[in-house]
Symmetry: C2
Subunit: 199 residues, 2 copies
Amino acid sequence: MPYGCRVTNTSPAPRLRAAGLATRTAIEDAARTLFAERGFDGASVRAIAAEAGVDPALVIRHFGSKEALFLRTVDTSLGIGSVLDGPLETVGRRLVAYFLDPGRPVIRKRYVALAQAAHHDQVREEMVRHTAETYVAPLAPRLTGEHRELRVALAVGQLGGLLNLLFLQRDPIVTAADPEVVIATYGDAIQRLLTPEDT
Amino acid sequence: MPYGCRVTNTSPAPRLRAAGLATRTAIEDAARTLFAERGFDGASVRAIAAEAGVDPALVIRHFGSKEALFLRTVDTSLGIGSVLDGPLETVGRRLVAYFLDPGRPVIRKRYVALAQAAHHDQVREEMVRHTAETYVAPLAPRLTGEHRELRVALAVGQLGGLLNLLFLQRDPIVTAADPEVVIATYGDAIQRLLTPEDT
DNA sequence: GTCTATACGCGGATAGAC
DNA sequence: GTCTATCCGCGTATAGAC
């Protein structure tokens, strides 16, 4: 290179070169797979690195911690947003039906992974934040009566109780029950918190 | 010992001599304290051993595993049995009030420790078993209508959802709310599963 | 900037000597 | 019954090679 030739080849975006970006996405893909497959505790950083074909130290180097990697790759919304659209009077049953749908095994795995990781502070805070944003914010204004935000928050907790029973505890009484009965019974119990006057 | 002298000295209980029994109870006491104080994950076997003044290896040697020690020392019933006595028509509110009572901080800690350890299979199974024994067995026969066992199981799940919200997620909307409102609102939602005809 | 190699300090659990 | 020494796996950190 001749003296004085300023390297003006400034493309700052590709500054994250192909190599670094490829490893990042490889780690993210592996994390998504293994967290869903084995849960938060079951998927070790070393296993994720092996699945991605990289060194374990790179996982921490790129994402800071296992917890941060989890938060970046897991979808805390569980894809529930669209269910909240539609008539308010039947949202209780629709919420329960969404999670009981046997055609959605991914939802079950995501929930289990999330619940397992909830004892980490950042994960817990993200869940609380997302609940407020996804459920309370859009739903509370549509309610009538007192304590609207509280009632939505309690309804979300109620839904969590059912998921707990189904996916974590695997309570035989509930898992063996007719899904239609659970949807109707529990859905109406949730509904009662949201629209108590309709019952 | 003379030949033929059948050893009829059968006091099988004192077979656990004083020394061994003392360490056992010391470990159990330390485990109860630390599990309540720091939760299942936060209380290491080494810390429990130190608190008891014994060698860490003894903890495993006596109880088999940390999980088994936890199961032996924690009370999975959370002392709820007595609440189920009394009129069926108000049991929903009584259950919620029991856990919200600020004078019972131990209950909160026990629940957190239990929930944290629930991803261990034996703990999970014990919780399911105890739910069936403590809640479903005494309550279901008192119900009327269809799906009595299922409705009790769902009500227990519902209660778990509230505890999750309060103690694990520490949702600010719920924790900041007036306890009386939560007791009335959520208690009635639970009640509806148990005695739907009364609402 | 990206990656490799290595290591630290923790966890639960075990084998075998006293 | 008890303790010493040890194992293996975990999340994480760092020094230094490319």
